[in-house]
Subunit: 208 residues, 2 copies
DNA sequence: GTCTATATTCAGATAGAC
DNA sequence: GTCTATCTGAATATAGAC
């Protein structure tokens, strides 16, 4: 059961995430956030001590949500699921949070690089935890023989995150489904898009 | 021959690119830019009408430089060079401009998403021209049979740009050479990092 | 050309009415 | 809880000295 207070607080956070994502942190004014939340600027201080605290909460929620979504995508899969399927599920969960449900996550991705130093430092804990989730996913796949042993997994992880995260800069909903994007990314990741060698189909790989 | 005026102007632009890249556009003050250029804030107005005009010039130079570097990387290659080698050269040129010589280009990449609407609109011309360069590169490779015909090249291009551009967020010089990064990216792009099928070595592919 | 000084505008934050 | 009114500091931009 949500009190009026909880509802207003949530509306402010939603408005802040939306506006931060669109205009960046520094360029966003409290009046704009208040506008989007159908309030006046002064009223925000009933809920938040400062603009910076509002920022911190948006950042943390964005990272928390994508972390949870990806973890959940793994827990849904039966034990014994192939690593290729697991990674594809993680990719799809990350993209979905970023592009579909995710003003918080996309705000986090877009503005993190330009946030005050102390805020960034405090937020790193959550970022590192999320990175560890992916690191584990890739290492397990490599150990199981799904991934080549001669690749730098840390680099691959950063490249993959880049390919995914950059989509906030260009993705327009409706043009391409998120599922199709995830498929394409995993095709490239696992098999490459060069056509020299005949490529084993994903189905065959999954049951092998 | 550079007049004193030219030198000061260049110093201001350098300082602006550096500071915009580090802190973002809105969060950067003219006093900080002036500081980095060893001047006082008021003096900037001898050279630039406004902060926004300074921004536009930094953005344009950043895009111009990376465009030129990638075009040049292609012109250096003899006709008949394989498309795999061509694309790798383009990747390396893009990364080099972004990570090594490129406060202007990296500033462009980092802040473009959070720049005032009118500035963004005016800048799109240059962005589109650069995108066309890559589009051509990939389409020619596909037509020549170097790339699979069943992939969405527009999507691949965005994923690739994402993997490259995101490196401004994490790359620390000295840890990994840019050449090695380009190699790894092209390995993933062309052959994938799954290890089901034996992968043809890049050398073989180049002369085939 | 660059400085200092300052006008002006505006955003973050606070106080108190309702 | 939310508003209006206001304080305060800071940042863009200008003016004029040197």
């Amino acid at each position: 059961m949500q009190s009026k207070s909880d509802i207003s607080r949530a509306k402010i956070l939603d408005a802040a995430a939306l506006t931060f994502r669109q205009k960046g942190y520094a360029a966003t004014t409290l009046a704009e956030i208040a506008d989007a939340a159908q309030m006046k600027a002064g009223s925000l201080y009933y809920y938040f001590e400062s603009k910076e605290q509002l920022l911190e909460e948006v950042l943390d929620m964005g990272m928390h949500r994508v972390h949870e979504a990806v973890a959940e995508s793994q827990n849904r899969l039966p034990t014994g699921t192939s690593h290729e399927i697991r990674i594809k599920a993680a990719v799809e969960a990350h993209l979905t949070m970023l592009l579909k449900h995710g003003d918080y996550t996309s705000a986090n991705i877009r503005i993190f690089g330009q946030v005050p130093e102390d805020v960034r430092r405090r937020h790193l804990r959550l970022r590192n935890a999320y990175a560890a989730l992916w690191r584990g996913l890739l290492i397990r796949a490599q150990k199981a023989g799904t991934l080549r042993t001669d690749v730098d997994l840390a680099l691959i992880r950063m490249l993959l995150m880049g390919a995914l995260n950059w989509s906030v800069e260009w993705y327009k909903p409706g043009k391409k489904s998120i599922r199709a994007m995830a498929d394409h990314i995993c095709l490239m990741l696992f098999h490459g898009i060069g056509h020299e060698e005949p490529v084993q189909s994903p189905e065959d790989a999954a049951v092998s």
